[in-house]
Symmetry: C2
Subunit: 345 residues, 2 copies
DNA sequence: TCTCCTAATACAAAGGTTTGCATAATACCG
DNA sequence: CGGTATTATGCAAACCTTTGTATTAGGAGA
């Protein structure tokens, strides 16, 4: 591997000291305009770049942000949403010259704890914790080490978030809006296809569902909340197996788009048409929803807003060392009406 | 930010010199078993991790791999496939303790050249170039700097690949298999929905299409190759606008799954059913294909194999400094038969 | 002309690790 | 017991920047 050109080399070429070169390239006001120009020209000519490691070593900044998400989101059915969020985050960070390194967090004992590894190894300047499937002890650890971080997407009920920076989606509101939409269209017997997962956000969606029912004087019915693992197949099978139950409802609130797709596929297989025979509303607004037939009416999660706000705050924390009061934002999701709920009946 | 615990601290605690600690933690045979045990115990107790920057500075290894893809693959219609490939690559690298940093490469003048930036700044140990939308000069630059890299997915026709390491998909073969499948089902008038892009791979798919026709004594018809930008919408609109042309074919070869979905949507809108009235075969095998109605018959790109082989080779190059002859693999895609082509007619 | 100030630059230390070489300690052999 | 391997450890340099402090030169003011 070719030896790289260093500040020293440029210094020699420019007939100045390394420190002057450093200052020149970093636009320090301590260096004469003429000298700076000469240095920068030489640096450009010789394709000089700072050695990232050397620089990090002394500045204690790596220019890398770690993104941690819970391991079970590796599963196919979660990847659609996660990808959209991650891409947006990467774009945001890129604009501020930060790189993103992505890891998942498993709580299996005996496995590496990427959070501690990244922090102890001084690999990252800050962290973005998506879904915060994370132990309270990890958060404490981050505080002890003064590592800036933000929580994104949804809280974990067992985590104390009062002192943290976070941007969450108001999932209860989302569930409420979705259910309310169905009720507004004249449905009163609504099935809730609930995703069972350690993620509190799905319980929140169910809460919203129940609340909407109650607010419209419909008695929630435990039986109509059906648990599913979130896959297309599970959702499909559930509908297929629960035909009696299905016959007693006129609408379904599926907690993710994927689940809606599975359910719709099953319903159609049973000879029911959506939305004519049964309406379906879902959650996430993944891109595919609008290409499906029927086009999905779904709750849009403002993922771009999550990314923008989260990154903004994280970058803010990175640039100012004074402690600023935490930013805690609950973002409201909104309904996108397409075809799967049909018209008022 | 809390001062981190360093090798020196451990050295003091263990009553040895820093160099011994370093050796101990790195499993050097130069250190006594008893000492090593003592050192490792202390390191563990105090949550010690190597400072990545300091380490990189001297070892000249960062443990980071850069993945570069062409800018226009940021567009929605390409994201599905790219994501699948990237995720698999990340997993592979993760297993070998490498991190992945993702950048796109634009050829716009005046913008940063991420390749040079990553290499000059000594930020990465190696590169994975997906689709190699990349200048020959960049490749030359990488060789000059002795940076290991692999090309993945598809070649760019203007790039000289003889001396490079690469794993490409045999796209001509893919186009051939797809078309041949249709012909085997009795179709002789087949539309080719071609994606127009700087990517040579799509031209290759068309070549395969033409070849299959010729091998079956069907005269290729220029008119039946329709150009599309790859979006769902474009594909949809094309079908809608070219009804006369559509009426003269009994099958469509869409060069991506997304294009197939758009086309099918349009066909169904026109009152044609797939596959009964018109058969559709496509390319990519994105996950959604099997949830669509009809389920897509499509060419599977062995992306996991690309990822595995590519990473394997890259890691190989990183660990041995002797130059090994380039690995050049053309992977055969294969057909997955589902519903969209129907039965023999 | 001398002093003092300012502006521009240089010097040197620091950051945490690795590693070639020197040294010390132990064991071996005759 | 002297000498030589052998094993374990320490020393110090190197990796490349950044940055606080010292130095120098030049100009202003008296």
């Amino acid at each position: 591997m070719k030896r790289n050109i260093t500040i020293k080399d440029i210094a020699e070429l420019a007939n100045v000291s390394p420190s002057t070169v450093s200052r020149g390239l970093n636009d320090s006001p301590l260096v004469a305009e003429e000298t700076r120009a000469r240095i920068q020209k030489l640096a450009l000519e010789h394709g000089f770049s700072f050695n990232t490691s050397a620089r990090s070593l002394i500045t204690r900044k790596t220019g890398i942000i770690g993104l941690i998400y819970p391991e079970h989101f590796n599963e196919y059915q979660h990847s659609f949403y996660l990808t959209l969020l991650m891409n947006k985050i990467r774009d945001e960070l890129e604009e501020h010259e930060y790189d993103l390194v992505v890891k998942f967090r498993t709580n299996k004992t005996g496995t590496v704890n990427h959070i501690r590894q990244l922090v102890n190894g001084k690999k990252v300047d800050g962290l973005i914790l998506v879904h915060s499937k994370i132990e309270q002890t990890d958060l404490d650890f981050l505080h002890e080490n003064g590592v800036p971080f933000v929580l994104l997407q949804a809280r974990q009920h067992y985590v104390n978030i009062n002192r943290e920076n976070w941007v969450f989606v108001d999932h209860k509101k989302g569930g409420y809006i979705a259910t309310n939409h169905l009720i507004g269209l004249g449905h009163s017997s609504i099935l809730c296809l609930m995703l069972d997962s350690p993620q509190y956000q799905f319980a929140e969606r169910t809460e919203g569902y129940n609340q909407a029912l109650r607010d419209n004087n419909i008695e929630p019915d435990e039986e109509k909340i059906v648990i599913c693992d979130g896959t297309f197949e599970c959702s499909y099978n559930l509908v297929m197996q629960q035909q009696e139950l299905i016959s007693r409802v006129s609408a379904i609130f599926a907690q993710t788009d994927i689940m809606a797709l599975g359910a719709i596929e099953a319903l159609q297989g049973l000879g029911l048409s959506v939305p004519e025979d049964i309406a379906v509303v879902s959650y996430d607004d993944i891109e595919f929803g609008k290409h499906f037939r029927p086009k999905l009416s779904t709750i849009h999660q403002p993922r771009d807003q999550l990314a923008v706000l989260g990154c903004e705050r994280l970058l803010g924390m990175l640039s100012s060392d004074s402690t600023i009061p935490p930013m805690q934002r609950l973002i409201e999701p909104y309904l996108i009406v397409r075809e799967s709920c049909g018209a008022e009946r």
